[in-house]
């Protein structure tokens, strides 16, 4: 199996107490049974429809033929099913056709889809995210015109941001929007690249949520507006070609089943876009989707890492090779490699990364739900904490699942490098995540340069309070007290490093302050996951005494992984903190000509 149902239940219902969400009016029709039904339904689609295509979709990439991208035929029933069963708008209100499902549960279901076949999972996710932008910021006319077919899976939604000359530096986009006689209707002209599901033959129409600059507006980020730019526009009951050409398709190392398009918009002056919300506010609108998408990218990476972990775990249990270190008799039978300490180390590494990440990501999902349903201070706290955690929730899983899928390959040895096993594919697929939805470097700058300091550091203060709360609880449980002390110590180190860096900012040394933002993000990520592990261990320790046998094994595994993580991963903060507090500015002083 490519994920653990037991772990998902542990995270959702034991650690996060997701059932408590049903006490709120918005979620009152739900209960544990309905949540389980949702997860079972997801598992059924994942197992029966998505997973069987995992390898095939990798080997038979989408192709651009006569201006249209052709995807794997097996995607068509999946996209249809996802629409029909209401997965695209499951979290939306009843009056919008939604099911008022908590994001926590929807993301857990998404995790199952992603673990089964990442490429197959993105189509309805893209539609959901972009439809959500229209319904939140668009006019009723836009909502009525576009969203129903996006919900049903008939039309594909996308987010169209990146351009050939504007990737990390979004403010430099040059796609232009020229007003027409009709209010809210613009002529769009430009190039967009790396557009996921930007065109394919399993939908009737593609609805791009596109950033462009209205001519004559402010330069830079303040001049960016958001438009709905459909591939075909709607005139009466007709779909009319809207001059959005698929100029190319990108072939990639992995994530091959998903069609990634290069779009040429308005090359014949015929592309029409509909303004969403007010002019020049596009970037702030888009950030709603980007923040959701960033948590989703973390989840994607975690899902791929999870599938690789279970593939390597199954192999390690079955593959005999070598003998226990103290066994010198070559006539004795070989032992399964899972009995070698070094293989267990690589499995524990994977387990600590993927279950630690999943814990953080579902916690972030629950914060989204709380922001939606809470009010006042509770809402504000959840909102600030999610803001702070977003760069970590995106980047830690993305970076670490490159390494954890690598460990999966290593456990299989030569077999892992061949296409006879799926781990090499997981290794290739994991590598996109530190890149898209903002590179790790961008998220480092976001965390250290913005999130740590916003609202006079209030988000950071809430974070430290929350971590300290867990530390305090754990300090009262004998078996894990030691780990609460360790986390307290490392939290102190992180605070000290933060103080050092903010000191540089205070002196106006902005370049020095931010030069190692990526390392700061790494440090913060390691500590955040250590917090998640302490929290998981608290629950595991609590429930261990009364658990039946299989569950005892499960909880023991959690407690051992806590130990692994603190012994092997948390200690890396020592080295990071040493560097972060160093005064050698080698990366600033290095000159281009010296390379």
């Amino acid at each position: 199996m490519f994920f653990s149902k037991r772990d998902l239940q542990f995270q959702l219902f034991e650690v996060l107490d997701s059932e408590s969400l049903t006490k709120y009016e918005y979620f009152q029709d739900h209960n544990r049974e309905s949540f389980d039904m949702v997860l079972d339904a997801a598992e059924s689609i994942a197992v029966k429809m998505m997973h069987p295509l995992l390898i095939e979709m990798d080997r038979n990439e989408p192709q651009l033929i006569d201006g249209k991208i052709r995807i794997h035929d097996g995607m068509k029933p999946i996209i249809k099913k996802m629409g029909e069963d209401g997965w695209v708008n499951a979290a939306f209100r009843y009056d919008e056709g939604g099911q008022q499902l908590p994001v926590t549960i929807l993301n857990a279901a998404g995790f199952i889809f992603q673990a089964s076949n990442y490429s197959a999972s993105i189509f309805s996710f893209m539609s959901g995210g972009s439809a959500n932008l229209i319904r939140t910021f668009g006019s009723q006319e836009l909502i009525d015109t576009f969203t129903p077919n996006m919900y049903s899976g008939k039309w594909q939604g996308t987010m169209a941001l990146t351009e050939p000359d504007a990737g990390s530096s979004l403010s430099d986009i040059s796609t232009s929007a020229e007003p027409t006689e009709k209010e809210g209707v613009f002529k769009i002209k430009g190039q967009k690249i790396y557009i996921s599901a930007g065109d394919h033959d399993a939908c009737e129409n593609v609805i791009h949520l596109m950033l462009a600059k209205i001519k004559g507006g402010p330069i830079g980020a303040k001049g960016i507006s958001l438009f709905v730019v459909p591939q075909k526009r709607i005139e009466g009951s007709q779909l009319i070609d809207n001059d959005v050409l698929t100029a190319g398709i990108f072939h990639k190392m992995g994530y091959k089943g998903a069609p990634i398009a290069h779009l040429s918009i308005g090359s014949n002056d015929g592309a029409i876009g509909y303004l969403v919300g007010e002019p020049h506010k596009g970037l702030s609108y888009m950030f709603q989707l980007m923040n959701e998408a960033r948590v989703s990218v973390g989840l994607n990476a975690t899902a791929i890492g999870t599938a690789a972990y279970y593939a390597s775990l199954a192999y390690a249990k079955e593959r005999p090779q070598g003998r226990k270190i103290a066994e010198k008799d070559p006539s004795k039978p070989q032992t399964s490699i899972i009995n070698h300490a070094d293989v267990k180390r690589m499995l524990l590494f994977q387990k600590s990364v993927v279950e630690g990440s999943l814990s953080l990501l579902l916690f972030c999902s629950k914060l989204s739900d709380l922001i939606h349903i809470e009010t006042g201070e509770a809402k504000e706290r959840a909102s600030l904490l999610l803001d702070l955690l977003t760069p970590i929730a995106k980047s830690f899983p993305s970076e670490m699942c490159c390494l954890s899928t690598s460990a999966a390959v290593q456990i299989l040895g030569g077999a892992g490098y061949t296409t006879d096993f799926p781990v090499e594919q997981y290794y290739r697929e994991a590598r996109i995540h530190p890149i898209h939805e903002g590179t790790t470097g961008i998220h480092g700058l976001d965390l250290l340069g913005r999130k740590i300091t916003i609202h006079n550091g209030k988000a950071a203060q809430i974070y430290f309070e929350e971590v300290s709360k867990t530390i305090k609880e754990a300090s009262q449980v004998t078996e894990i007290q030691l780990f609460s002390e360790k986390l307290q110590k490392y939290l102190g180190k992180a605070q000290q490093a933060t103080g050092h860096l903010l000191g540089l900012a205070g002196k106006g040394e902005i370049e020095k302050y931010l030069a190692d933002a990526t390392l700061y993000l790494e440090m913060f990520g390691i500590i955040t996951i250590a917090w998640q592990w302490l929290n998981q261990a608290l629950i595991a320790q609590q429930n261990l005494a009364t658990a039946h046998e299989a569950d005892r094994d499960f909880y023991q595994g959690k407690l051992m992984t806590l130990r692994y993580y603190y012994e092997y991963e948390l200690v890396k903060v020592d080295s990071l903190v040493k560097r972060l507090q160093s005064t050698d500015n080698v990366t600033i002083e290095m000159q281009s000509g010296w390379f």
Copy 2:
């Protein structure tokens, strides 16, 4: 360009003083000019023949058709050229048709081939290594029968070790050898997998250097013998089918241009093998080739990492994106990404890994030469030091070039993930190296469990003496004195960790002693490369004052990379040492059922 000629010259002639080898009688016909000619000849083949096929060979993998592996047609002239120009046996004696070229220079040439197209480089390397085994341990008859056609490129050589049930645990091979009436001639029966260049259509015959067990011999490693098992055996002037069938071909994540075969030997009872040397000594013979091959694997990884580094460096210099951190004006033009500290960090990381690794690998190559030409204590010291360094020289580059090629991908961002640029291919190709020729885990056990302790720790003692010598020299140069102090401190930490682990061994706690051998290897690797950087910096600092302008930039780059490495990489030893000295045996205590 995919490598730096300037850096290769620096390493060979400024750091290692390879010219000094020509003072020895064996190398007396060589001089700086002849070395340069060899390197130029390698560059010419690499640039004109190998590099143009880099992408093509990846996209058009070898295929097994009607029992024969078909490789890319472009390989045929390359294999012919490599044979004709004497690359296979260049290091061998004149009377063997060789050129008595130092291994140092031959490996430097090999590095150029590998950086241009790793898959294309392996054919003649495999032939050279296996021919070397025959000439060292085989009878004159075997030498005369097989090696000339291997030297000329007409026949392919291989090393055939791994079996479906015996990879890391070589002592468990089950391929059998049954004596025939003729002395030294055996009937061979078994399966071999993952045989590089194990079959292809660019050669007339394939000569396998194969491990098998003579029936009735000792069990385990002590019963392994070495055989020449040709694909076609020679009877008179005829090539007769020898019942070595190509049962399959492995398709892989990368390294796709090289045909990796599954061989079925003697399935019709018709496979003949010729014993090399004495019975039951096969494993010790094979270790000659394996030790050479391990240094070569390190070099392969470094070469791929080097090509990726230069690809990402070129991109970083050309790609405009974003503005300097303190520049807030969006109307200003974008800057090249090489001006961002975080991009420079990723470039410095790559530079530190690939140039540090190359330095170590050429140092090891020079040790090979010294072992060959020196006598007495000098020979013994070189031999022990090379023994100790081999697991590090294999593993550090292999592991780190997975990360450095990843940094190359990251610098290119979305573009790096597409097949429009070669970095994704380098990322895939790098991943084989921590696996083949002994996994990293195996080398950890080799270093800590064997090399550190052999001859009462004499190899380790020589290592510490050599590193201390460099530290002492550097301590007398003001500009780098600080780094000599740092290395001294970390060397002390490594010695302390070693003492702790050997203490466990002394108490008979063998499992605890070796549980973290992989981490010990990592620590030892980081320190060893820090030593190489200190040594490079010594020379760079020395030569800086009198250098012309371009060379000043080159030396400045070396000194900055020293700083980078000590600031960002060497500090990782702190975390490793903390774990290595911990008493929490979590990876031993973890149970299979708890995962």
